[in-house]
Amino acid sequence: MLTFIIRRLLQAVPVVIGVTILVFSLMHLIPGDPAQIIAGEAAPPAQVEALRERLGLNDPIPVQYFKYIGRLVRGDLGQSIRSSRPVLDEIKIRYKVTFRLAFMSLTVSCLIGLTAGVISAVRQYKPDDTLVMVAALFGLSMPSFWLGLMLIKYIAVQLMLVPPSGWGTWQQAILPVITLGTSGAAIIARMTRSSMLDVINQDYIRTARAKGLPERIVIYRHALKNALIPVVTVVGLELGALLSGTVVTETVFAINGMGRLAIQAISSRDFPVVQGVVLVFALTFVTVNLLVDISYRYLNKRMELF
């Protein structure tokens, strides 16, 4: 197990390096002179030159990259061009909000998705199965921002059941979590169903039933445990979708998190902040999938070492 963890950690290293290269290149993908674009069309040449110097754009590109890495290692993500504050500080105050939103949505997605998926599989081709699968198909096909708008309009404004925007109280979290969690719940429900059906049709489940075990124990103790394995991988990948979903959800509900920060930074051409947010999102995703792989291994001890 320990060797697996170490090997998996080592495997993540090139990915992290690749992530930093891609984030670094972002600045250089800008057509034309990034300093000029950041400073604005009308900026005087002296100001552009000062900015170029400040961003280190006069060095050769590999030198710039290594300087960038050097700063990253020291926890320096650069300075926001608009607010002049360190990017890390800007992210720090928002990271918790976004992470909490994503984590709550993931939890809700898992609870709903797993329950619905198991019901669907156990009652295959019955009306409840059809209902769950149709609902999942819709959940998968809805743009989350539209779902958010409709929830605000009908649940928050018309019925006045919950506040329409903001973040802080638990009531304010309800609609964003539904908005962000719906597609995840749909994906997990579909995955759980097909995985359960795979398992239920296998010999050892028939044996368990033949032994006279109650159906409840057969389903929960024998089938679900094995059916969960592929679902865990999906949950890890789902977090990536959830993190990018926060960008949309935070905008719709006016939540001051990292996603909204990214949008604001993009529209004001504050590229150091954009780079910082993208980097933090990507590293979070890599870390979570590392944890998922390790728990996957833990769940599936029979899996041969490769």
Binding site: L22, L149, M191, V248, I266, V274, F281
Partner: protein, 297 residues
């Protein structure tokens, strides 16, 4: 969506051509109800995109302040927006934009992802390791954020939206094609063809590609659904084509300020997105079932 194309068993048909691959594909889907319904819906939407704009009576761009935010009626089936433009007409005109973005971005993703996957799966070893790590890097970027940063750098337009969303599809194509290629490459007949002196290029194009066509098609269908959703989200965030383009995501973004008193402005463009994405998902599910009889049990 998760029982992805990767798990579709590749069906070795010996030597094959694209034509035989495609005719086998037709035969297969014609037996699946979901695939048929989804397929017909998609066909219907394509027809709407091509013919629809010729049949609408209202102008999708003409601003008329005497008709602002009218509720749905017999003259304006889905009402009018804040500029007095007919919502139904704008939705019909937006259909071609949505479908173009969906098809083109997936084509971009497939054109880059498929060769990467074949190279990785066919040659294996070092090349495979390097390519797959690159794919991992791409996968590590949350989709919308990757597309978002690309669009922010390139600027907002339909073309840039297609590129940005297409890049996001590369990893999934590469992974699925790699898996299928590895499965086919191990089959005996590939050894046989190689023993007969076929070149790598010939083996790849004549013997591997036709046999991995089905998982690719299934994946492409699913990706179109996802790409349309992402593109509409980017557009909603203001990174899509500029107004007054009747792009559905952009329409929703404008409707945000009016939807409280005039819900039809936000309801219908959203329903349009849902129906198109839904039909691609139904089609994709049907295709996958047709190719994976195991799941039908």
């Amino acid at each position: 969506m998760n029982k992805t194309a990767a798990e579709i068993p590749v069906s070795p048909q010996g030597t094959g051509t694209f034509i035989s691959g495609i005719s086998a594909f037709y035969k297969k889907i014609s037996k699946n109800r979901g695939a048929l319904i989804g397929g017909y819906l998609i066909l219907f939407f394509i027809i709407v995109a091509v013919v629809g704009p010729l049949l609408t009576v209202h102008d999708p761009f003409e601003v008329d302040y005497s008709k602002i935010l009218l509720a749905p009626s017999t003259t304006h089936w889905l009402g009018t927006d804040h500029n007095g433009r007919d919502v139904f007409t704008r939705i019909v005109h937006g259909m071609s934009i949505t479908l173009t973005i969906g098809f083109s971005s997936v084509t971009v993703g497939a054109l880059i992802g498929i060769p990467l996957g074949i190279l990785s799966g066919y040659y294996g070893r070092m090349l495979d390791t390097v390519l797959m790590r690159c794919i991992d890097v791409l996968l590590a970027f949350p989709g919308i954020l990757l597309a978002l940063s690309l669009v922010s750098v390139l600027g907002g337009s339909v073309r840039n939206l297609i590129i940005a969303v297409g890049v996001f599809s590369i990893p999934s194509f590469a992974r699925i094609v790699r898996g299928s290629t590895m499965a086919v490459r191990k089959l005996e007949y590939i050894d046989a063809v190689r023993a007969l002196g076929a070149s790598d290029l010939r083996i790849i194009f004549r013997h591997i590609l036709p046999n991995i066509l089905s998982p690719i098609i299934v994946q492409a269908t699913i990706r179109i659904a996802i790409s349309i959703l992402i593109a509409s989200a980017l557009s909603f965030l203001g990174l899509g084509p500029k107004p007054p383009t009747p792009e559905w995501g952009a329409m929703l973004s404008q409707a945000r300020s009016y939807m409280y008193d005039h819900p039809h402005t936000a309801l219908f463009p959203g329903l349009a997105i849902v129906s198109v994405v839904l039909s691609f998902n139904i089609f994709g599910d049907g295709l996958r079932d047709a190719y994976d009889p195991r799941l039908k049990a």
